[in-house]
């Protein structure tokens, strides 16, 4: 078992990185390690965890901002926000079940992976769009801040965006500041059974192209999970065939009219059913956490981002290659896929995603496999050269999470 460092403050993080750079010992950088199974395994002599850098440092509900140390559990932040009827707009997911553990995510880890849930398609955008500021320790063992605690800031290069999604390879974030929004008072969903994925994506597009404020648009290829009652009490469930689900959120008094209008718009796709607030919340949690994908423990999982209209063709290719199970969110722009672990299946995903003009992340795979294959799409030659220089600019000794994103 490699040594695990959990410095209690920023100075400790600086010292740990300084030491690592000085003796050339790579560090596995993590929060609680809840996403360790993502991407490639890191070979490192020591683990540097932000777990002990915990706590909300600034919360100004009237200014819609919150700062927290990187190791603060996401759940702690969400509980505090809930008390003020606010939320992180990106609806960050909880992948504990997907990864088969019960380790809570830290806010720093969530930001470093830039993971957003169903509300990504709304005007608030991705988690990275809500990242107002960071404090980080670079591979030079220096403290660098970017952004700040105000909503609008274009001062200097935006290192927040660069660090979000960099998976601990460019710096160790020690504190993040996020933009918040009020939690909508009410929510409900409309579900419509469709003959196939094309029709499903078309139904989602119709909803997202409507003026009614759709904040979730998922396509469940094998229907609503049994046991989830939808529609009128005693009404039919929709097992088997694909179901498109659209969510509306706002003040409760606005929802009935909008639901009626949206129902009218969707009726040409099939029978539209209403899902009430509680069931709707449960369903979207399962979409958010990709729980509906239900991969077997030894299967691989890919997270694919694609132009929505390309999703049906992508799905057909994956089905032909390895009978992939799918879950679609973001109006079809996010495709979760799972199937038996094999290099051939991975190669099929790489090819199909390239054909569709999208990008993939190998989200989960047995260790030997994820060490052997590219877990992210190849970068254009010119960008790869720039990427190498950017990495060298921030981590010249190459001690931060070596090999995590690319071999």
């Amino acid at each position: 078992m490699a040594e695990r460092l959990c410095p209690p403050d920023e100075a400790g993080v600086i010292e740990a990185v300084r030491q690592a750079a000085a003796d050339g010992t790579p560090l596995a950088v993590e929060g609680n390690g809840s996403k360790r199974a993502m991407l490639r395994p890191v070979q490192a002599g020591r683990t540097l965890s932000t777990a002990a850098l915990s706590g909300i440092t600034l919360y100004r509900p009237a200014e819609l901002i919150l700062s927290a140390r990187a190791g603060t559990p996401l759940a702690e932040i969400e509980a505090e926000l809930e008390r003020h009827n606010q939320m992180i707009p990106a609806e960050p997911p909880d992948f504990a079940a997907l990864f088969g553990h019960a380790i809570p995510s830290t806010i720093g880890g969530m930001v470093a992976a830039n993971l957003s849930g169903p509300r990504r398609i709304g005007p608030g955008g991705a988690l990275r769009d809500q990242l107002l500021g960071i404090r980080m320790v670079t591979g030079h063992a220096e403290l660098v801040r970017s952004g700040g605690r105000v909503h609008k800031n274009v001062t200097g290069l935006d290192l927040c965006k660069l660090l979000a999604g960099s998976h601990g390879t460019l710096g160790v974030m020690t504190e993040v500041t996020l933009k918040l929004v009020p939690r909508p008072e009410g929510s409900l969903s409309l579900a419509v059974a469709v003959p196939g994925l094309e029709e499903g994506i078309a139904a989602l597009s119709a909803g997202l192209g409507s003026p009614y404020g759709v904040t979730g648009a998922a396509l469940l290829p094998s229907g609503i999970p049994s046991g989830m009652p939808i529609g009128m009490p005693g009404g039919p469930s929709l097992p088997g065939s694909p179901v498109a689900v659209l969510r509306l959120e706002d003040f409760r008094r606005f929802l009935p009219r909008r639901a009626e209008a949206l129902r009218g718009l969707l009726s040409r796709f099939g029978d539209v059913q209403l899902i009430g607030e509680e069931d709707s919340a449960g369903l979207w949690r399962q979409v958010r956490d990709a729980a509906l994908l239900e991969p077997a423990p030894d299967q691989m999982v890919w997270r694919i981002s694609v132009r929505p209209s390309r999703a049906p063709d992508l799905a057909r290719r994956l089905d032909a290659a390895f009978e992939a199970r799918l879950l679609l969110d973001w109006g079809g722009g996010l495709v979760w896929a799972t199937g038996s672990a094999s290099i051939a299946a991975h190669e099929a995903v790489v090819a199909a995603v390239a054909e569709a003009g999208g990008v993939f992340t190998l989200f989960r795979a047995p260790d030997p496999l994820r060490a052997a294959v590219p877990v992210l799409p190849a970068e254009a030659v010119a960008l790869a050269a720039i990427a190498g220089r950017v990495k060298a600019a921030l981590d010249p000794a190459g001690v931060l999470n070596p090999g995590r994103m690319r071999a």
């Binding site: 990275r128 403290l143 909503h151 800031n153 274009v154 660069l162 999604g165 404020g213 003009g357 999208g358």
Partner: protein, 492 residues
């Protein structure tokens, strides 16, 4: 007074050869010459929205394709010639100000809309399409491109990407960064790279996010894929005027605290109200110290409901006047003064500097009080316009450009305001960018370590510092810039 680096004498000496070479790369076309080299026509490019600074460039090229842009960059990279990218030239921070030894690459002839896809809710456009041009191309189907800078009639999407521009409605819809899906990016070496595309999230490093707001420091953008959104069913505005800045600030907090996020929440102080009223006759209350314009969206009943709730909140703060628009025309009337604010101030004082700091919203009363004190001590008038929901403050400092002392004072006043913004927890610029204007204030907000790190990232893209140099980063400390001379003078 901001200094520019000494021009490269070897480049100046080769001017004729360079012009000849550029003409082979960007030939003349139906819209005019591909390369501009004569002194008179170069003057059209000598400044941007920060018109106090002027400097004609060595040459201007007006490419019509990504291939031509790449060829020019490849050539300039090989010949070590500095490059200044330019969209519409509306930058208020001098971001598009030329250098004497630089080639300006103007993107205005790349103005085609390449693809509009309503089902996937995106549009692919060339960098020289105007911001409003995108909305106009999709409005027929009820869609729009959300970020709406006041300059939207003129400014171009390439410039918006590079400044990460905002607008009056970014409280709900976010700034440029959140509304982009991809760009065609040309590196200083002339390599063409597609970043992003029709999908929402990057896998791997977020190059699109890093490039957005990079002020032409990292490369050129020739095509942009933007998200387009379906417009709301309707929108309506109201006006609320208060006895003091403090009270208006409290009303803003109470509105946000109620769970309502208006699409726009604009604040004007007394001088701004008076300037706008004199210009636009919008019926603004002249006895008020502060005024809010608040806009909501939804169908008519929802608008009534939200405006009713907001009016009730405002009523708790003893407003001097409260005017809820009943019709779209009345909404337009309420907005009329605010939208003409720059022109209005321009009528009182032909010259003004538009500042652009951001502050924590709760600091507004304190900051306005301090700005008032500074205004007295500098003897210069100032009007304040504030995006109240997001803390972006635009003080308009009025001065007389014919008087160098007045200009010097205006710049010093502006610098003091921006230092104050940083001091209270905000930043130097919320949407107009650093450019040359705020370059020398960067060390107020950042440590030397932080600036060195940002410079290193620029170097990773542009090792020779040929791209838009002398902007964003203070000159001392830049790896590849010659010693500086005071090369610019305010025009008179």
């Amino acid at each position: 007074m901001i200094a520019l680096p000494e021009p490269d004498a070897a480049v100046l000496a080769r001017r004729d050869v360079i012009l000849r070479d550029l003409r082979t790369l960007v030939p003349d076309g139906p819209f005019g010459p591909g390369v501009i080299g004569d002194a008179i026509r170069l003057r059209a490019y000598e400044t941007d929205g920060l018109s106090a600074y002027r400097q004609p460039p060595l040459a201007v090229v007006l490419p019509t394709s990504t291939g031509e842009v790449a060829a020019v960059l490849r050539y300039c990279h090989r010949e070590k010639i500095r490059v200044v990218p330019r969209g519409a030239g509306t930058s208020l921070s001098g971001g598009a100000l030329p250098l004497a030894d630089a080639v300006v690459i103007g993107l205005m002839r790349m103005n085609r809309i390449l693809d509009v896809d309503f089902a996937d809710r995106l549009a692919v456009v060339e960098a020289g399409v105007t911001n409003l041009g995108i909305t106009q191309a999709v409005a027929g189907e009820g869609f729009f491109y959300a970020p709406d800078p006041s300059s939207q009639l003129a400014c171009m999407i390439g410039g918006n990407v590079m400044m990460n521009s905002g607008g009056a409605h970014c409280l709900k819809y976010g700034v440029t960064a959140g509304n982009l899906l991809g760009v065609t990016f040309v590196t200083m070496e002339g390599e063409v790279v597609r970043i992003g595309g029709g999908h929402l999230d990057a896998a791997g490093y977020d190059w699109l996010g890093l490039i957005t707001g990079s002020e032409g420091q990292l490369g050129l953008v020739t095509e942009v894929t933007v998200r387009i959104l379906r417009a709301a069913e309707g929108a309506r505005a109201m006006l609320a005027a208060f006895r003091s800045n403090e009270v208006a600030g409290q009303a803003v907090d109470a509105i946000i605290g109620s769970g309502i996020i208006p699409v726009a929440l604009e604040f004007m102080d007394r001088p701004a109200i008076h300037a706008c009223e004199a210009f636009a006759n919008a019926g603004y209350p002249l006895d008020a110290e502060a005024m809010l314009i608040i806009e909501v969206e939804g169908d008519t009943a929802e608008q009534d409901d939200l405006l009713g709730s907001i009016a009730a909140i405002c009523n708790r703060f003893d407003p001097i006047s409260l005017r809820v628009a009943e019709t779209a025309e009345q909404s337009i009337a309420i907005w009329k003064g605010r939208k003409g604010a720059f022109g209005a101030v321009g009528r009182i004082s032909p010259d003004y500097l538009c500042m652009d700091g951001t502050i924590p919203t709760g600091e507004l009363p304190h900051v306005l009080k301090r700005i008032g004190e500074m205004s007295d001590s500098y003897g210069l008038k100032v009007a304040n316009i504030f995006h109240a929901g997001d803390g972006n403050l635009h003080p308009l400092i009025m001065f007389d450009a014919n008087d160098p002392e007045s200009f010097r004072k205006a710049e010093a006043f502006g610098a003091d305001i921006l230092k104050l913004c940083v001091e209270v927890g905000g930043c130097l610029t919320g949407e107009h960018g650093v450019g040359v204007e705020k370059r020398d204030l960067m060390n107020v907000q950042f440590t030397e370590t932080e600036l060195r790190q940002q410079r290193a990232i620029k170097s990773a893209f542009d090792p020779d510092w040929l791209l838009n140099p002398a902007k964003v980063f203070p000159l001392e400390g830049n790896p590849a810039l010659a010693p500086r001379i005071p090369a610019v003078v305010p025009h008179g």
